[in-house]
C-alpha cells in the first residue's frame, strides 16, 4: 500500500516501492486506474487512464500486480469497449449517458452462460501446450469461439469439463504445469496488450482481402495478413473508407478501433451494422464486429492503450484460425498521445514534438499484423489498416512518413479529388501496393487471367492522361492528336465509370471481383474500339459524341452483382456501338478510299 505524492494532470507520483514498470495501479478513493511509466527508488510515476481532477496528495495507491491486459473469451463479438476494454454498454447501464470515473466493470459479462463443447480428441493425461484448443463455444451463428490454452500454460491435462453451459469464470479444465502446480482454466484468459501473442511461424500472405472497393481491390490490393495505411487530410474520406472495409471485406472478424475520433462515427456503426447482413453468412454484420472506442473527448492516456487493446484481441482470434481485419482510425491520434506522454516525461522531442522512438513504436505495432501458423496449428491472419491524419494534409510529417516506410499498401487520399467529390478520393498516382504479384495469381485463378494486363493497361492510361492534361493546360486541347485526345477521354471514362464508387449508392457500394473485372474490361474495350476508329481517321470529337461514352458511366449503378450476365452481354455487344462510325470511315472495298472525306 502506498500513497500519492504529487499530481500533475494525468501524471501521478506515488510512494509505492514494490511496483514494476508497466504495472497497473489504482489510486485514490475513486479507484482511478493507471500504469507505471517510470520508477525511481521507492517512488513510481504513473499515468492515469482517467482525468485526475479531485485527486489529492496523501490518498492511497496500490499496485495491482499485472500489466495492462485484456480479457479474452466468449462475449467479445458485437461489443463496444473503451481504450482499456471497459464494456461501454454496461458502463452506460451502470452510470448513465456520461462516462463516470473510476468505474470498474469487467469486459466480459459474468452473468452469461455459454454452451461449451470439449474438443473430442482431448483426453486426460494428454500433454497440452499453449494455444491448443480445448473446445469451443458457438458465440454467434457463424463464429465458433475456440477456447485456447493460454499461450503461457502447458502441461498435463488432468480434467476437461463435459459439454454443458458454463459462465466465463467456471473452471473447464485443470492442467498440471511442469513445475507440478495446478492451473485451472476457464472459458477466458487474460493477456498483456503490449506483448504480441506468440505463434509457431509466419506464413506467406497469399489471399487478397476483398473489400468490394474497385480502386482498392483492382488497383492497390491488400492481402489478408498485410498492412496498409490510409493517409489523408480531413474530409478526404479515411473514415468512410474504413467503414466500407469494415462492412464489406471478406474477413471473418473485424475489429474497429476509433482512436481519438468522433463519437458519432461509432454511433453510426452501432446503428447501421446490426441492420446490414454479411453476404457470406447471411448474419447481421455486427456479429462479426467488435469496436474499441476512445473518442477524441475521452482521456488521452487510454487512447495510447486503445490500439494495443485492439491488436491483442485481433491476435487472439487469429490464434483461433480466423482471418481478422483491424482498422484503426486514426493512428495519428495514437502517435499524438504517445507524444504527450513523452513530453510529460521530459523526453527529448526530435521532430514536431515527437520522441525519437516514434518510428520504432509504429513499426513494432504494424509488425503484429501477418498471416501465421498459430500454436494450435490453425492458420489465421491479422490484417492491419491504419488511417493517418497528417496536419495540414502534409504527407512529409513524421507519422505519415514513418508509416509509409513500414506498410506495403498505401492508399493516399487527396484533397483535390475529395473537393471535386471524386470518391473514394484515392490518388491513383501516389498510392501503391507491394502485393500486386500475389493478388494477380488469385485474380487469374478465380476471376480472369486477363486481370494483371488489364490493370496495367488502365494505370498506363491514367498516368499518360496526367501528362496529356499538362499539355492541354498549357496550350489547349487542339495541340493533341486524335489518338491522344481519345486516350485522355478514355482515362476520364475510367476515372468516372470505374474509380469513382459511392459508398452511399445502393447498387455500387460493394462490387464483387467479377463485377470489378467486367467493368474494367468493358471500359478498356471501349478504348480499344475507339483506337481502331482513330486509326481509320475518325476524329476523337466524333467518338466523344457516341452515346456509349455516357451510358458506360452508368454501368456501375445499372448492373448490380446479381445482374452481371447482362453486363457481360452489354460489353460483348460493344462493337455495335462503333459500327456506324466505322462504316462511315471504313475504306470501301472498291476504292480503298474513305467512304466520306473524314475531315476533322
Amino acid at each position: 500500500m502506498g500513497s500519492i505524492l504529487e499530481i500533475n494532470g494525468p501524471l501521478v507520483r506515488l510512494q509505492l516501492p514494490s511496483v514494476v514498470l508497466g504495472e497497473q495501479v489504482s489510486v485514490g478513493a475513486m479507484g482511478l486506474v493507471g500504469e507505471v511509466i517510470a520508477r525511481n527508488g521507492d517512488t513510481a510515476l504513473a499515468q492515469l487512464y482517467e482525468d485526475s481532477t479531485g485527486l489529492a496528495p496523501g490518498e492511497a495507491a496500490v499496485g495491482l500486480g499485472h500489466p495492462l491486459s485484456v480479457e479474452l473469451g466468449p462475449g467479445l463479438l458485437g461489443g463496444i469497449f473503451d481504450g482499456v476494454q471497459r464494456p461501454l454498454e454496461a458502463v452506460r447501464l451502470a452510470t448513465g449517458d456520461r462516462i463516470a470515473r473510476g468505474v470498474q466493470i469487467p469486459a466480459l459479462a459474468r452473468d452469461r452462460r455459454w454452451s461449451f463443447s470439449p474438443a473430442p480428441d482431448r483426453l486426460a493425461e494428454m500433454v497440452l501446450n499453449g494455444g491448443d484448443v480445448l473446445g469451443s463455444v458457438q458465440e454467434t451463428a457463424s463464429i465458433a469461439h475456440r477456447i485456447l490454452v493460454p499461450p503461457d500454460v502447458s502441461g498435463e491435462l488432468l480434467e476437461l469439463a463435459p459439454a454443458g453451459d458454463y459462465d466465463i469464470d467456471a473452471t473447464i479444465a485443470r492442467i498440471r504445469m511442469r513445475d507440478g502446480s495446478i492451473r485451472k482454466l476457464s472459458l477466458s484468459h487474460r493477456w498483456p496488450v503490449r506483448q504480441p501473442r506468440p505463434f509457431r511461424r509466419r506464413d506467406h500472405a497469399v489471399q487478397p482481402l476483398i473489400t468490394g472497393q474497385r480502386i482498392l481491390d483492382t488497383f492497390y490490393p491488400l492481402l489478408k495478413g498485410g498492412k496498409a495505411a490510409i493517409p489523408g487530410p480531413f474530409g478526404a474520406g479515411k473514415t468512410m473508407l474504413q467503414h466500407q472495409i469494415a462492412r464489406w471485406c471478406n474477413a471473418e472478424i473485424v475489429i474497429y478501433v476509433g482512436c481519438g475520433e468522433r463519437g458519432n462515427e461509432l454511433t453510426d456503426i452501432l446503428e447501421s451494422l446490426p441492420k446490414l447482413t454479411d453476404p457470406r453468412t447471411g448474419r447481421p454484420l455486427m456479429e462479426r464486429t467488435l469496436l474499441i472506442a476512445n473518442t477524441s473527448n475521452m482521456p488521452v492516456v487510454a487512447r495510447e492503450a486503445s490500439v494495443y487493446v485492439g491488436i491483442t484481441i485481433a491476435e487472439y482470434f487469429r490464434d483461433q484460425g480466423y482471418d481478422v481485419v483491424m482498422v484503426a482510425d486514426s493512428t495519428s491520434r495514437w502517435a499524438e498521445a504517445l507524444r504527450e506522454v513523452a513530453g510529460r516525461l521530459g523526453q527529448m522531442p526530435v521532430e514536431e514534438g515527437y520522441p525519437a522512438y516514434l518510428g520504432s513504436r509504429l513499426a513494432a505495432f504494424y509488425e503484429r499484423a501477418g498471416r501465421v501458423e498459430a500454436l494450435s496449428g490453425e492458420h489465421g491472419s491479422v490484417t492491419l489498416i491504419g488511417a493517418v491524419s497528417p496536419p495540414g494534409g502534409d504527407f512529409s510529417e513524421p507519422v505519415t512518413s514513418h508509416t509509409k516506410e513500414i506498410i506495403q499498401t498505401f492508399w493516399a487520399l487527396s484533397k483535390e479529388l475529395a473537393d471535386a467529390r471524386h470518391y473514394p478520393a484515392i490518388d491513383w498516382l501516389e498510392s501503391f501496393s507491394g502485393y500486386v504479384g500475389q493478388a494477380a495469381q488469385w485474380w487469374a485463378a478465380n476471376v480472369d487471367p486477363g486481370w494483371a494486363g488489364a490493370r496495367a493497361r488502365a494505370l498506363e492510361l491514367l498516368s499518360e492522361s496526367e501528362e496529356l492534361r499538362r499539355i492541354v493546360n498549357l496550350v489547349g486541347v487542339d495541340a493533341l492528336s486524335s489518338g491522344q485526345r481519345w486516350s485522355l477521354e478514355a482515362a476520364e471514362l475510367i476515372k468516372e465509370a470505374l474509380l469513382q464508387q459511392s459508398a452511399t449508392d445502393e447498387v455500387d457500394s460493394y462490387a464483387s471481383p467479377e463485377k470489378q473485372y467486367r467493368l474494367l474490361a468493358g471500359l478498356l474495350e471501349i478504348h480499344r474500339q475507339g483506337i481502331k476508329l482513330v486509326d481509320l481517321g475518325v476524329p476523337a470529337r466524333r467518338l466523344l459524341e457516341l452515346p456509349v461514352m455516357y451510358e458506360a458511366r452508368r454501368w456501375k449503378t445499372r448492373y448490380g452483382d446479381d445482374n452481371l450476365a447482362a453486363l457481360r452481354e452489354r460489353i460483348a455487344g460493344l462493337a455495335q456501338d462503333f459500327m456506324k462510325l466505322e462504316a462511315e470511315y471504313a475504306p470501301t472495298l472498291a476504292t480503298g478510299e474513305p467512304a466520306q472525306g473524314g475531315a476533322s
Binding site: 454511433t267 467529390r421 487542339d478
Partner: protein, 461 residues
C-alpha cells in the same frame, strides 16, 4: 479547506502562483485569490503535492504582492448555476451576469467541463435543418445535433452568415423559432457582439437566447472557460429541458490563441506553430459536446466560427477543427470580392452528416443525386474556367462554353442570395435543376434516369 485562507504564496511567475505549506489540496481545485488591493482573481490548481501547490491564475500574476495575497481553495470545480432562467440572460465569459440583473439562483450547478458522452448513449443526427441558404441546404446541409463550423477570414461576412442561419434555421414543417440559441463570443470586438445582439433582437428572439460574452479587451484566460460555460448551459437546456439548442461560438481562433498563451506559460512542448500538442484534444472536448442522446428529445447543434489566419486552411486551428467537426463551411474571399453573398466556396465545404439527413425520407428523393451532380458539374466548370484563363474563352468548344455559363449562373444565382432571402429546400432543388439544365443532358450522369425524366428541363436555354 473551503473556509481557510492562506497567505503562503511562495512565488509567482508567468501566471502561476506556487503555494507552500498547504498539504492535501486536490488537483483541479478552484482557487480564489484576493490581492493586496482587495481585488479577486480566479485560479485553478494544476499541479499539487504536499510541499507545493501550483495555481494557474486566470487574470495573470501581474502586480501580485505575495505577502499580502490571500488564497482560498474552493471545494467545487468551476460550475454554472442552471435553471430555465438562463434564457434571456447575458453573462460574462465565466458565467457571471453582465446585464445588470441578479445572478441565477438555483440549487443546481453544473461543472463547466462536462463529462464525455458514452458513445453508446449517442443518437446519430439525421434530421435535416433547413437554413434557407441554397449553398448549405442544397449541397452542405446541416442536421440537428451536428457540429458544423464556418471557416472564414478577416473582413468576410461570417457574422452575417451565422446570424442568418440562426434567424432562418428550422426543421421542415416547423416554425423557425423551435430553437433556443446559446451564443458565446470570445475575443471579439464589442461591435461584433452588438451585431449579434441586434440581429437576435430583431428576430424577437431575445427571450430564447443566452449570451456569454468575453470581449477582446477582457481577460484572455477567461476565454478558456467561455465556450465551456456556454456548452454547459446548452447541455442543460437540451438534455434536461428538451430544447433544441443552436450554439454559435465565435471566434475559435481567439480561443486557441488563449490556450497557446497558457501553454507557453506552463512550458508545455509546442507541436505546430507554437500550439500545444493537446490543442486537438482540447478542441474536441468542446466540439464533441454537440450531439443528440438516445431517448432524449433535445439536441445541441454547434456552429463555431473561426477566422483562418492568413486565409490558410492548413493552419492548426482550422486544420484541427476540421478533423473534429462534422464538416465545414468555407467562405471565399474571391466570391466576396465579386459581391456574392453568402460567399460560400462549395467545393472545400463539406457536411459529413448530409448523406444521412437528406433524400426521400427527409427532403426530396432527388436531393442526394442533385447535390452530387452540382458538385461534379461545378468542379468541371471550374476546370474549364481555369483552361479559359490560359487559352482564352474564344478558343473553347461549344460544350465548354456552356460550362462557363453554368459556373457563372451557379455562383450568382444558386450560391448567391439575399441576406433576407429564405429559400426553402425545394426552391433550392428546383433552382438546381434549372441550372443543371444548362448543361447537355447526357453529361449529367450522377442523376438517375428517372429523375432526369421527371425534373430535367429538356428544352435547352
Amino acid at each position: 479547506m473551503k473556509n481557510l485562507e492562506f497567505r503562503t504564496a511562495a512565488s509567482a511567475r508567468g501566471g502561476m502562483v506556487v503555494m507552500a505549506g498547504v498539504p492535501g489540496v486536490a488537483a483541479g481545485t478552484r482557487v480564489s485569490l484576493i490581492d493586496h488591493a482587495g481585488r479577486r482573481r480566479n485560479g485553478l490548481v494544476i499541479r499539487t503535492s504536499d510541499a507545493a501547490v501550483m495555481v494557474e491564475v486566470f487574470e495573470g500574476t501581474d502586480g501580485l504582492d505575495l505577502e499580502r495575497t490571500w488564497v482560498r481553495f474552493l471545494d467545487e470545480p468551476y460550475s454554472l448555476p442552471v435553471s430555465r432562467d438562463l434564457l434571456g440572460r447575458v453573462f460574462n465569459g465565466v458565467g457571471q451576469p453582465r446585464d445588470g440583473r441578479p445572478p441565477i439562483v438555483s440549487g443546481q450547478r453544473r461543472d463547466i467541463n462536462g463529462a464525455a458522452l458514452n458513445p453508446t448513449a449517442r443518437a446519430y443526427p439525421r434530421e435535416f435543418i433547413q437554413t434557407g441558404l441554397s449553398a448549405l441546404d442544397g449541397m452542405n446541409s446541416l442536421t440537428r445535433g451536428q457540429k458544423l463550423p464556418i471557416f472564414s477570414g478577416g473582413g468576410l461576412p461570417h457574422n452575417r452568415v451565422a446570424a442568418q442561419i440562426v434567424r432562418q434555421a428550422r426543421l421542415l414543417g416547423e416554425a423557425a423559432s423551435e430553437f433556443v440559441v446559446v451564443f458565446a463570443a470570445f475575443g471579439v470586438s464589442s461591435q461584433d457582439a452588438r451585431f449579434f445582439q441586434d440581429s437576435f433582437e430583431e428576430s424577437g428572439a431575445l427571450e430564447r437566447l443566452v449570451m456569454f460574452l468575453n470581449l477582446a479587451d477582457e481577460p484572455v484566460i477567461e476565454r478558456l472557460l467561455t465556450p465551456r460555460a456556454a456548452l454547459t448551459a446548452a447541455e442543460y437546456l437540451a438534455f434536461e429541458l428538451d430544447y433544441h439548442v443552436l450554439v454559435v461560438m465565435t471566434d475559435m481562433t481567439a480561443y486557441a490563441e488563449a490556450l497557446r498563451e497558457v501553454a507557453v506559460l506552463r512550458g508545455d512542448v509546442p507541436a505546430r506553430k507554437g500550439y500545444p500538442g493537446y490543442l486537438y484534444s482540447d478542441l474536441a472536448e468542446i466540439y464533441e459536446r454537440a450531439g443528440r442522446i438516445r431517448d432524449r428529445r433535445g439536441s445541441i447543434t454547434l456552429i463555431p466560427v473561426l477566422s483562418m489566419p492568413s486565409d490558410d486552411i492548413t493552419h492548426p486551428i482550422p486544420d484541427l477543427t476540421g478533423y473534429i467537426t462534422e464538416g465545414q463551411i468555407v467562405l471565399s474571399r474571391e466570391l466576396h470580392a465579386q459581391g456574392i453573398y453568402p460567399p460560400v466556396a462549395v467545393l472545400p465545404s463539406l457536411s459529413r452528416l448530409m448523406k444521412d439527413g437528406i433524400g426521400g425520407d427527409f427532403t426530396r428523393e432527388d436531393h442526394p443525386h442533385v447535390a452530387s451532380q452540382l458538385f461534379a458539374s461545378y468542379a468541371k466548370a471550374l476546370e474549364v474556367r481555369g483552361l479559359a484563363a490560359i487559352i482564352g474563352a474564344e478558343d473553347l468548344g461549344e460544350g465548354d462554353r456552356r460550362y462557363l455559363e453554368f459556373a457563372e449562373a451557379f455562383e450568382r444565382r444558386f450560391v448567391g442570395q439575399g441576406e433576407d432571402e429564405e429559400r426553402d429546400v425545394y426552391a433550392s432543388l428546383d433552382l438546381a435543376w434549372e441550372l443543371l439544365s444548362m448543361l447537355p443532358v447526357e453529361t449529367l450522369t450522377r442523376l438517375g434516369e428517372e429523375e432526369l425524366a421527371k425534373y430535367h428541363r429538356l428544352k435547352q436555354p
